[in-house]
């Protein structure tokens, strides 16, 4: 019997009203009760009460989830669904219910210290295309690149852009390279422990005298803010850094040419709904000359996950892609030419959906757009 | 089928406490469809109605429920009418709950009597019928009569909260209730309304009332071409204004002179409500009329306004109409203009814009005409009912038209409530071809 107390009481508070169906992107696609928070809670309760046995099928439904917290936000009864599911995953990871792809993910991260399984030392390959070296040996600030931006070529342009921005603004920063281990987010999201990773990462920063960490990855940002001991290192997301720089007038913008560029902004779940960082990216977008920002109907706390959240991509790639297509359609409805986000996972997921669906919408990370619109960049206008 | 025993004592003995009338004059007053009943019953309570129906059903008699007969010859001609069940003895206003704005009346009460009973509280039932002083509530419900004001207020199906009806089993049922919200059980109230007395005899009903409007006025708008009149009516019905009625006529009733010479269609717009709402709508309707190329627009008030709407409530059938044919065409509202054009030679045409109804009065029509028109109207997504016609035409065509796939469930309901076809045999669903 799997004991989910103290959250058993919390699960009892679900009155099965079903309003979570309006909030869950997996339900939007699958249309099945097993793809709702209500359904997941009912299954967990049934297992806890011994009504049904714990099986891989239960796990399939529990982990086929974006961990986007939209259900928690919209639950009229204020049930702490995020906590129920987090605790449930922790208890049920490494049981018969645990999906094999997540076992494999755990294996990779524990042994290779990153999600891709590539040698961890290859985390700085993205630098090779830059004409110049970036970063310094010693500084108080580290640019925390994260697994996705560091190891997936499709999004190399993000760290390339941001590091050049830092350079152009005269901000010294350290790149940890192979010393940067996975922040632990994918493990924690799956319900696996990340203690060793956390301990290592903190030690690695402290060994280099790092007092401040800036990252382009909201998931890393969220992990550092919630799973790491606080007060040791200041943690900033790139949008916060850029917003401050823009506010202080330190970013030399190019002159805009031609018509204003219509853009819309996608709030990454880990930055927006989970950390409340909504305004800084918008501040930056409004500061860029020649950019016309349009909001989606579903934005800020109501933004729909891009499909790349949680570990859904590992567990059900097709579902993640279907969700991305839906989010893309919401972006298209604004009439924007460019969809801007602040997360390499969102950028990757949505860009792939655009390519798959032959949708004429460019998907960029904010750092890419900022770099393109800075006077220092040699690239042509967007 | 068993031979009907025509002996009247079978009924009069079975229900001795009901008033039975056998004299030829009374029977002649209840003749219809070329049939004269052998017997007339005048019960005074719903329970009596039930017992009369049960006795008739068991004896194999064919029964026609009667109100005042204003619509007794609408539908396919009855195959038999042995008993006329006159419900005018149930004429009481049972309850007027003024604070909750509901009224409960028996089926034999006229609509005029109902309005009279609730008027002093400043309330009314916004249902138009052709002849409110004669038309009984039961008949109105059985026929689902409606008029111009359905545009804003809905029909009986929307305004009735519940009813009471007697079945051929002798039972009296009371579906619905007195509250505006009620979803308990099946909505037999809706089922019985418009069932033409073929499921049971309605004996009472409860309606929701509206407060009497503070003000009411009419705007008459004349157009040289019918197409423009319908475009104006469409635009008006799709606006944020809420006219109580929008009627398109090819000629104004006698007593009102035409607004302009050569006006092929006139639109009568009824505006009811608070003074400010009416004033605002008068302005906006006039402006819209001008924008849509009206030839002339004129307000109407007082007794002329009253008389106009009484006339329009007759829906194409004034008392002077005589023996002609009245067609009722139902359509998606946007097709009304198109259908209007099918009857350029008609004696009169009246369209209920926004609702999608067209009444056409003709001096005559052949079965072939009816079939041809019917198929044209079907092509526009509508239906055609021969509402009034000489008996010969009513015998030669199915006045209702084909019911299509809906006929089967409807037949199943008829079978469930009246297996022996005691009630209005042949009028609806069981026409013998």
């Amino acid at each position: 019997m799997h004991n989910l107390k103290p959250y058993y009481q919390e699960m009892l508070r679900c009155t099965r009203c079903g309003y979570c169906q309006a909030a869950c992107p997996t339900f939007e696609v699958l249309r099945q009760e097993g793809a709702t928070a209500r359904g997941r809670v009912q299954l967990l309760r049934a297992v806890d009460e011994g009504i049904i046995p714990l099986t891989p099928a239960v796990g399939e439904r529990l982990w086929r989830c974006l961990d986007c917290r939209s259900c928690t936000l919209h639950c009229p009864g204020g049930v702490r669904l995020d906590e129920i599911f987090a605790l449930a995953r922790r208890h049920l990871a490494n049981t018969v219910a645990f999906p094999q792809p997540l076992r494999d993910l755990g294996e990779r991260v524990y042994t290779r210290h990153n999600i891709s399984g590539e040698p961890n030392e290859t985390r700085l390959l993205w630098q090779e295309n830059l004409g110049e070296a970036v970063g310094v040996q010693e500084a108080e600030t580290a640019y925390w690149v994260g697994c996705v931006a560091g190891l997936y070529p499709m999004v190399y342009d993000i760290p390339q852009s941001f590091s050049r921005i830092l350079q152009a603004l005269g901000e010294p920063f350290v790149l940890l390279g192979g010393e940067e281990w996975c922040c632990g987010y994918p493990l924690l999201s799956a319900g696996l422990p990340a203690d060793d990773l956390i301990a290592h990462n903190l030690a690695a920063l402290e060994a280099r005298g790092i007092r401040r960490l800036v990252t382009t990855c909201p998931s890393c940002y969220h992990a550092w803010k919630t799973a790491y001991p606080q007060g040791r290192v200041e943690v900033l997301h790139a949008v916060e850094f850029l917003a401050q720089a823009a506010r202080e007038g330190r970013i030399p913008w190019r002159e805009p040419a031609g018509d204003p560029l219509a853009v819309t902004y996608h709030d990454p779940c880990d930055l927006g709904r989970k950390e409340g960082v909504y305004d800084p990216p918008r501040e930056v977008l409004r500061a860029i000359p020649g950019v016309d920002l349009r909001e989606m109907a579903e934005s800020r706390a109501n933004a729909m996950c891009c499909g790349g959240g949680g570990n859904l991509e590992s567990v059900d790639r097709d579902l993640a892609a279907s969700i991305a297509a839906l989010r893309l359609a919401q972006a298209q409805a604004t009439g924007a030419q460019v969809l801007v986000t602040a997360c390499q996972q969102c950028q990757r997921t949505l860009a792939m959906a655009a390519r798959r669906g032959r949708v004429r919408l460019r998907v960029l990370d904010l750092s890419q757009l900022v770099w393109q619109r800075m006077a220092a960049s040699e690239e042509g206008g967007t | 089928m068993t031979e009907t025993t025509k002996s009247t004592s079978l009924l009069t003995d079975a229900v001795p406490d009901v008033e039975w009338l056998e004299d030829p004059a009374e029977r002649a007053r209840h003749a219809a469809d070329g049939l004269t009943p052998r017997l007339v019953a005048r019960p005074r309570t719903a329970e009596q109605v039930g017992r009369v129906l049960a006795a008739a059903d068991q004896a194999g008699w064919a029964v026609a429920p009667w109100g005042s007969g204003t619509h007794i010859e609408v539908g396919n001609p009855r195959q038999a009418m042995d008993l006329a069940l006159d419900l005018r003895g149930l004429d009481q206003v049972l309850e007027h709950d003024r604070e909750n704005l509901t009224v409960t009346v028996q089926a034999g009460c006229t609509l005029a009597a109902l309005q009279e009973a609730v008027r002093e509280a400043g309330q009314w039932l916004p249902l138009d019928v052709p002849d409110p002083a004669r038309c009984t509530v039961g008949g109105m419900l059985a026929a689902n009569l409606s008029g111009p004001r359905r545009l804003r207020y809905g029909t009986a199906r929307d305004l009735a909260l519940g009813l009471e009806a007697a079945l051929v089993t002798g039972e009296v049922i009371r579906p619905g209730g007195k509250t505006v919200k009620n979803v308990a059980g099946y909505d037999l109230t809706r089922l019985f309304i418009g069932s033409w007395g073929t499921l049971g005899a309605i004996t009472a009903a409860t309606f929701r009332l509206w407060p009497l409007p503070a003000q009411a006025t009419t705007l008459l708008v004349a157009f040289r071409e019918a197409g423009a009149a319908f475009a104006f009516a469409q635009a008006l019905c799709g606006s944020k204004l809420f006219p109580a009625a929008v009627e398109v006529v090819d000629a104004l009733p006698p007593g009102l002179s035409p607004l302009v010479d050569g006006a092929r269609a006139t639109v009568a717009v009824l505006l009811e409500g608070s003074a400010s709402a009416v004033a605002r709508q008068v302005r906006d309707v006039a402006a819209l009329a001008q924008h849509q190329g009206a030839a002339e627009a004129e307000p109407l008030s007082g007794s002329q306004h009253e008389a106009l709407w009484q006339d329009l409530a007759r829906s194409g059938c004034p008392p002077s109409a005589g023996e002609g044919v009245l067609l009722r065409v139902g359509l998606p509202p946007a097709r009304l203009g198109e259908a209007w054009a099918l009857w350029e030679g008609a004696a009169a045409r009246q369209a209920r814009a926004g609702s999608g109804l067209l009444y056409v009065r003709l001096s005559g029509a052949s079965p072939a005409d009816v079939e041809a028109w019917r198929s044209q109207v079907a092509g526009m997504g509508g239906y055609l009912v021969v509402e009034r016609a000489p008996l010969a035409l009513r015998r030669a065509v199915d006045v209702w038209g084909p019911l299509g796939a809906q006929a089967r469930p409807m037949q199943a309901l008829r079978e469930a409530f009246d297996p022996r076809r005691t009630l209005n045999r042949g009028l609806l669903l069981d026409r013998e071809a």
Partner: protein, 467 residues
């Protein structure tokens, strides 16, 4: 009947991915938003009207009961299979097929959420009048099945008043259209009969609805009262004055306190009741109506009347109403929401008697409801882990329904009879009424396979007629 063969045929109709038979999935479909449960033998998710037809035909051939389901937000157990069989889920049929502004109609599939239709109509300046509080998640098919109401139904009517026609799969699998675009078509009002029949007479596969232009303007007021009776009297007084508000919602002290503690909306904690009143229509008469309503409130003893001056203020007022269920959820883990309706003037008495039931059973009860049409929603709050609590709650609920019937009202204003209220049907219907309803049921479904065990008490339980 060979179960495996039937399942195989179902897989051929809808595709194997859409036939669910695992124990986990069957468990997931044995509940809805009510307190009832019942396990199906299989769950089917058809993707088209043709597939729905084929599934029903197959089920009928083999005598398999079918329970239709939309979003499963049903509050009376309507979506719960009472006799096993198939749960037939409609939410893959989720397209808006047509919006026809000149004719003011729309054609939708049953799995479309009510709010999705509203959002599709909004750019045209149109709306679909029935807007139940569940509109974010309840499907239009579900709204049709229950004949849902909502805050705007006093003025604009319930779902039935806005359905012109439907495509229905009858219990034997025949797919037919009832009603249509032309008004008052000859024959019986099958649309009127089917809407609100709780899925027991057929399954709707397309819904043809009437849509309306949005009103030109709207005004929202909040009135606070020191006594429930004053508030109840005000409700009647407003309507008696000839004003038909677009909405007229009431909340009692229990709810107000819960909402204020949860949301800090700025409501005093010592008021007995509040009313949210909205009037809509032409701008020309709205301010006049607001003044009149203010005067009536004050005359009936309102402590304070606030008028929203902006959209933001309006949203703020509504936030307290919308947050009510959730706020109550913070007080106790579970609740039973009732749906009895009484004539408006009996509201104060109804509320008092409901409160008395709460005291006698020792159960906290909050009231938040559509006062304008007398539709109460007492919420009985409880902790489901307390031994014997469910019986107690149901008993209290049954008493409350008796009160509503006693006051000349009905046992359900909008949530339906379902499973939950079958035993209360004799409170408002006599044996003849129930027999007539059974006659209707048998006319459509002689084998009693379409959502069986709902709405009507078993025929054997209905007393014999006196000859």
């Amino acid at each position: 009947m060979n179960v495996e063969q039937v399942l195989e045929s179902l897989r051929e109709i809808v595709g194997p991915a859409h036939v669910l038979t695992s124990p986990e999935d069957l468990y997931l479909y044995e509940y809805d938003a009510s307190l009832d449960r019942g396990r199906p033998h299989a769950v089917v998710l058809p993707g088209s009207a043709e597939e729905v037809e084929a599934v029903v035909r197959l089920a009928h051939e083999h005598g398999v009961p079918v329970t239709p389901r939309g979003a499963g937000t049903n509050l009376s157990g309507g979506s719960v299979p009472a006799r096993g069989g198939l749960v037939l889920v409609l939410n893959r049929l989720n397209r808006i097929l047509e919006v026809d502004i000149p004719n003011r109609t729309a054609l939708v599939e049953p799995g479309v959420f009510n709010l999705t239709l509203q959002k599709a109509l909004a750019p045209y300046g149109y709306l679909f009048a029935p807007d139940p509080a569940s509109q974010k998640v309840s499907t239009l098919g579900g709204n049709v099945g229950e004949n849902s109401g909502g805050p705007h139904c006093l003025k604009y009517g319930v779902t039935l008043n806005h359905v012109l026609g439907m495509e229905v799969v009858l219990p034997d699998g025949e797919r037919v259209w009832v009603g249509g675009a032309a008004p008052d078509a000859p024959g019986y009002d099958l649309t009127g009969l089917l809407v609100g029949s709780e899925g027991t007479l057929g399954i709707v596969t397309k819904i043809f609805v009437r849509i309306m232009p949005q009103p030109e303007g709207v005004r929202t007021l909040l009135a606070l009262f020191d006594s429930l009776t004053d508030a109840g009297r005000t409700v009647s007084a407003i309507i008696a004055a000839g004003i038909i508000p677009a909405t007229l919602e009431m909340m009692d002290h229990t709810v107000i306190e819960a909402v204020e503690r949860a949301t800090h909306a700025g409501l005093p904690l010592d008021v007995a009741a509040l009313l949210i009143i909205e009037v809509d229509g032409l701008e020309d008469e709205l301010d006049e109506q607001v003044r009149e309503i203010q005067a009536i409130c004050q005359r009936e003893g309102a402590r304070e009347v606030r008028v929203a001056r902006s959209q933001a203020e309006r949203d703020h007022l509504w936030a307290s109403r919308r947050g009510a269920f959730g706020a109550l959820g913070q007080l106790m883990p579970s609740y039973l929401v009732l749906d009895g309706t009484v004539p408006r003037t009996r509201l104060p008495e109804a509320l008092e008697r409901v409160a008395e039931v709460g005291r006698r059973y020792g159960l906290p009860i909050g009231d938040v409801f559509h006062a304008g049409d007398g539709n109460l929603h007492p919420l009985i709050l409880f902790d489901p882990t307390e031994p014997g609590i469910l019986e107690k709650v149901r008993a209290a609920g049954a008493e409350i329904l008796e009160i509503c019937a006693d006051l000349g009202g009905t046992i359900t204003g909008e949530h339906g009879i379902g499973l939950e209220k079958i035993s209360a049907m004799p409170l408002i219907f006599g044996p003849a009424d129930l027999r007539a309803m059974w006659a209707v049921k048998r006319a459509f479904d002689p084998q009693d396979l379409m959502n069986p065990g709902k709405v009507l008490p078993p025929l054997e339980a209905v007393a014999e007629a006196t000859p």
